[in-house]
């Protein structure tokens, strides 16, 4: 059958292009802002903890009032890695959903319930950590045993996020039902992919919490299978980092083009890369466990191969970004090989911050490939190289992109304008962040390569020459970390300024459109049942044998240990 003459229903491509935009209601704005408040308060507390850490590790500072270094480390990890990220992401995604597919009244109520459950859980976990009853860092570390309230709090955060995920699925489903022959809005499609991945991934932590940690910490179970708890954690732990990254990619694919005055490079490619992320983000968690004794080397290697697959959609993304910049520049008349660089709006913080985030992902991604490289992982595993790595990927690529979003999202939500002076402060903030992170991350990478351990308070390790060398890099980290803290204070100031002191007005919610003659998006991109099926099959393939092995060939279980973390 000829495509051109076929009725719309039988065509294998979607007819519509672009996205119609809705207005966010007052209540929707309030919902998103609530998430933003939690995110920015977390940024400040977590950043303060980071400052204290680098100061302690410089060897010239002791924590007052008998506060334990590992309490601070736990707060830093949990509040930035779980709270800041999850709250910013779900808030941002809710804004995207409101803008593209909209909320019914009932959906919005459920979204508020999700927010409430997440916040209650977060407060319970935070208090437990702050009183020193959960110095277990954010990877839980069984058989170290925290107070049960910590595990219950974390579980509630996850459950709250699930409520939100189902609201997003419902919104998307209802929109598709109303628009059967149209392709879904690109950003809504991306949100649904990310929440699907999150839902499937968090089943791992939820299982570990409900079946292992909570009954064990309450005393209903005497022992715990340590390796199983670790494997379930990392089943979640790797997709977690993609859960952070994908919202940044949403902004890169579908928002940045609008900010630079261009169009989406390819709607289909953007969707396809997200589908690949859904497939390959989860069945790869063993690459965090390569040096663990109880897992089989063949299955470790298989998951290394799958990990390398997830590099491909990032290669696609890199190409799309440069192509967007080049095409836009050429259209504006900038010729030559790199002339298009000149047209980019360098003095617009909505562009500059995410752009530096993109640049940071080049060394960040390269380092990530090293980390996943099977035996080479022994060189860097648990050294501070890894900390340097995720301060590039999470704390620079993701966080700077989130800041870049905040500069327009928050004024949009509060009905104010992004002023010139805020923009200027934002640029200073971005530069401070970049400089501080460069100093801190480079010194972490080098110190890691020469063996310096991560997750450690200051120690001279008996005065070895190596430890002295590490000390020099830790001084550099203290310098970088201090600059970063100044940048955080500035960011919080900007946040407050944008909410309360900027002039009233209407700030644009930038959503990029496709080119008029863009290639239509094929219908197969929305074959959701197939995408979910492939995802599950890959997970079953990668994890069934390792998990059966961990359960069937388990050593005697471990009794709880609370004294090593000062929780007895």
């Amino acid at each position: 059958m000829e495509t051109a003459t076929a009725p719309a229903k039988q065509s294998n491509v979607f007819r519509n292009k672009g996205t119609m935009e809705l207005r966010l209601s007052k209540n929707e704005r309030r919902l998103v802002m609530s998430y933003m408040y939690v995110a920015f308060i977390s940024l400040f507390i977590g950043g303060l903890m980071g400052l204290l850490q680098v100061l302690v590790r410089s060897g010239n500072f002791e924590l007052p009032w008998g506060i334990n270094y590992y309490t601070i480390l736990t707060v830093h990890g949990v509040i930035l890695g779980l709270v800041l990220t999850t709250f910013f992401i779900i808030g941002f995604q809710n804004a995207l959903m409101g803008k593209t597919v909209g909320y019914s009244k009932k959906q919005l109520n459920w979204a508020w319930i999700g927010f409430a459950v997440m916040t209650i859980g977060m407060i319970i976990a935070a208090i437990t950590i702050l009183v020193g009853k959960a110095n277990v860092l954010y990877t839980f570390y069984a058989p170290l045993q925290a107070h049960p309230a910590f595990y219950i709090g974390i579980t509630l955060v996850v459950v709250g996020s699930w409520i939100n995920a189902f609201v997003n699925f419902r919104q998307f489903y209802m929109w598709k039902k109303k628009h059967p022959d149209e392709k879904s809005p690109l950003l809504a499609f991306m949100v649904v992919i990310n929440m699907l991945m999150w839902l499937i991934a968090t089943l791992g932590v939820a299982t570990a919490m409900l079946v292992q940690f909570i009954p064990w910490s309450l005393g209903y179970k005497n022992t715990i299978n340590v390796l199983l708890s670790r494997t379930l954690f990392w089943y979640f732990g790797h997709p977690l980092v993609y859960f952070w990254l994908l919202p940044a990619y949403m902004a890169w694919y579908a928002i940045i083009p609008k900010i630079i005055g261009g169009k989406i490079f390819s709607d289909t490619l953007a969707r396809f890369s997200f589908i690949l992320f859904l497939f390959f983000s989860i069945p790869v968690g063993l690459h965090h466990q390569l040096t663990e004794p109880g897992l089989d080397s063949t299955w470790k290697f298989i998951q290394v191969i799958l990990t390398f697959m997830v590099v491909i959609p990032s290669l696609m993304t890199a190409f799309s970004m440069f192509a967007t910049f080049e095409i836009t520049g050429r259209k504006k008349g900038y010729g030559g090989l790199f002339g298009w660089l000149k047209h980019l709006p360098w003095s617009d913080v909505r562009f500059l911050a995410p752009f530096i985030g993109m640049l940071a992902f080049i060394p960040g991604g390269a380092g990530g490939i090293v980390n996943a490289s099977y035996q080479i992982n022994t060189l860097v595993h648990n050294t501070i190289w890894v900390t340097g790595h995720f301060h590039l990927t999470a704390a620079t690529t993701v966080v700077l992109t989130f800041f870049g979003i905040a500069y327009w999202l928050i004024p949009h939500l509060t009905g104010r304008k992004l002023t010139k002076s805020v923009n200027r402060l934002g640029i200073i903030q971005t530069i401070l962040w970049t400089v501080g992170m460069l100093i801190m991350s480079i010194s972490m990478h080098i110190q890691g390569l020469i063996g310096g351990p991560r997750r450690s308070a200051y120690s001279d390790y008996g005065g070895t020459a190596q430890a002295t060398e590490w000390g020099a890099y830790q001084m550099a980290q203290a310098v970088g970390g201090t600059i970063l803290f100044i940048a955080i204070v500035l960011m919080v100031y900007i946040f407050v300024k944008m909410i309360f002191f900027s002039p009233k007005g209407e700030e644009e919610f930038p959503i990029a459109q496709e080119e008029d003659n863009a290639e239509p998006t094929p219908r197969w991109t929305e074959n959701w049942k197939l995408w979910i099926a492939i995802t599950l099959v890959l997970i079953l393939f990668a994890y069934t044998v390792p998990i059966m092995d961990v359960i069937q060939n388990a050593p005697p279980g471990s009794a709880p240990f609370d004294w090593p973390i000062g929780n007895s």
Binding site: A318, A323, E326, F338, A366, V370, I376
Partner: protein
């Protein structure tokens, strides 16, 4: 391949945007990955 199809193909290639700068940029990215990876591999082998 018949001539008409070939013509179509040709015209679709002509309408492709000029992405030389992009190709060079991603190549630089590729080189960063290669240098990092082999550098760390060498360090691993030397230990």
């Amino acid at each position: 391949m018949n001539t008409e199809k070939r013509k179509q193909l040709k015209s679709s290639q002509e309408s492709e945007p000029n992405l030389k700068g992009t190709l060079i940029s991603v190549s630089v990215l590729g080189v960063v990955i290669l240098v990092t990876w082999f550098g760390v591999l060498m360090l691993y082998l030397s230990r």
